[in-house]
């Protein structure tokens, strides 16, 4: 079983912000499409480490994680098996789980 860790602060940015790529250089869509989805497709398990950043806007988190289900990259069940979130502030972990739980695949 292969495991990969994405440390957002060092691999992506300390200042993630925005929903869409047009919003800014470190948006949720960019993180999802260029880091998260390739990692989830390449490894059996992906650990997303949220520590070390200054924070996340709701738009970023919803697009990056809720967007995995909305855009039909993965199902909720697949994400439950393949992805783990590591954050010292439990509020972020809870929000990621909520955005995934609330997301519905777009038709």
């Amino acid at each position: 079983m292969t495991t990969h860790t994405i440390h957002i602060a060092s691999a992506f940015s300390q200042t993630p912000a925005g929903r869409f790529i047009a919003d800014g250089p470190f948006s949720g869509e960019l993180f999802r499409d260029h880091m998260l989805v390739p990692a989830l497709r390449s490894y059996d398990e992906v650990i997303v480490d949220l520590n070390g950043v200054f924070g996340f806007g709701s738009s970023f988190l919803e697009e990056a994680f809720g967007g995995l289900v909305r855009k039909s990259f993965f199902s909720k069940d697949e994400l439950q098996k393949k992805m783990r979130v590591n954050a010292s502030l439990k509020t972020y972990e809870n929000r990621v789980n909520k955005y995934i739980a609330d997301a519905k695949p777009e038709k």
Binding site: Q14, T15, G24, G55, G57, F60, L89, T91, Y92
Partner: protein, 344 residues
């Protein structure tokens, strides 16, 4: 010769009056025409005649608070816009400015940017007399935009304690130094809440505030003291009530709730801030609701939002929200957020 009768003399006088009046009127018309022709006539060098005017800036560049101070500041802005629109060259006399607050500086920054883009080369100024005012206007780049080269070192604590940022997108990387200090002073949880609210607010600006991408811009001031964090964000976009009314589904919802009622814009601001129990507005970003939540969780904190005619003031100490309708609308949205820190 027989002397003229009184009646005939009067008749003659009346006639003279009439003639005199007509004569005077004709003269005046002629002079007026000449004056107009003179103004229209191009000077001998072929260039259009340029009109100059000096407009004195008020001693307080403040928007939030006292209405008379706000109106004086508004009038100053409006005078400059009016004269530039009438093809005057405007010189701003900054010598009387004694006090600047972030709310006023943000609005002035946005206006100066707009004026210099729309009327290039038509705006100038003289240096302020007050040293702190000069340092502040220099550090935010207003003096440079007005064609005044930097001539002082920014050293006063009243100026250096302010961080100022601007952008066209939701790029928060420039805020790294501010967030590092905030993390040290507030701790990770409060600093993260601060960051989350700020980036959501600027994401909202990039999504909703402007039609034209070229106009898209936000400005921000932030400061940290031992007891307080202050953040002020401004955009010159369509305003929150304006954007709410452009979304068909939401427009009907809002109209049913606000139409015909007083304080219409401030009611819409309330809805955008998360007054969902009454409006069920769920489409908007979470920036304002998150700011409101953080404000209400920290005793002594406050949040003020100006957007179009609406003004909403939230005070955690008083645990209440005050909604006011302004007599004159604000261009865009101004947000003023003061948080008492846990280390007070």
């Amino acid at each position: 010769m027989r002397k003229p009768s009184v009646e005939s003399k009067a008749r003659e006088l009346r006639l003279s009056d009439y003639v005199l009046k007509r004569h005077v009127r004709a003269l005046r018309q002629r002079r007026s025409c000449k004056r107009r022709l003179h103004l229209l006539k191009k000077p001998k060098d072929g260039k259009t005649r340029i009109k100059h005017v000096t407009i004195v800036a008020p001693n307080k560049i403040i928007f939030h608070g006292d209405e008379s101070v706000r109106n004086t500041f508004r009038q100053f802005i409006s005078d400059i816009s009016g004269k530039l629109g009438s093809e005057y060259r405007v010189k701003i006399d900054l010598s009387k400015v004694e006090l600047l607050l972030p709310c006023g500086v943000l609005l002035l920054l946005s206006q100066v940017r707009g004026w210099t883009l729309k009327f290039p080369g038509k705006l100038s100024a003289n240096y302020p007399s007050d040293e702190v005012v000069e340092q502040m206007l220099q550090s935010v780049g207003i003096l440079e935009k007005l064609g005044l080269p930097e001539r002082v070192t920014v050293s006063r604590e009243e100026v250096t304690r302010w961080y100022h940022f601007k952008g066209e997108s939701a790029d928060a990387s420039q805020m790294t130094p501010f967030m590092q200090v905030a993390k040290e002073r507030l701790g990770e949880a409060d600093q993260s809440a601060l960051y989350d609210s700020i980036v959501e607010a600027i994401t909202n600006v990039t999504h909703h505030a402007y039609d034209d991408d070229e106009q898209k811009r936000w400005w921000m001031f932030a400061s940290l003291t031992k007891t307080e964090v202050f953040v002020s964000i401004y955009d010159a976009g369509r305003s929150i009530p304006g954007t709410l009314l452009e979304k068909p589904g939401v427009r009907d919802q809002i109209k049913s709730w606000c139409w015909g009622k007083k304080k219409r814009d401030s009611r819409m601001l309330h809805a955008a801030m998360g007054g969902k129990s009454r409006t069920k507005l769920c489409y908007r970003g979470k920036g304002l609701p998150e700011m409101l939540e953080s404000t209400m969780n920290m005793i002594g904190s406050s949040l003020a939002i100006y957007s179009r005619r609406g003004l909403v003031l939230c005070d955690s100490g008083a645990d209440r929200e005050v909604r006011t309708e302004l007599t004159e609308p604000v261009d865009g949205t101004l947000l003023l957020w003061a948080l008492k820190t846990a280390k007070d």
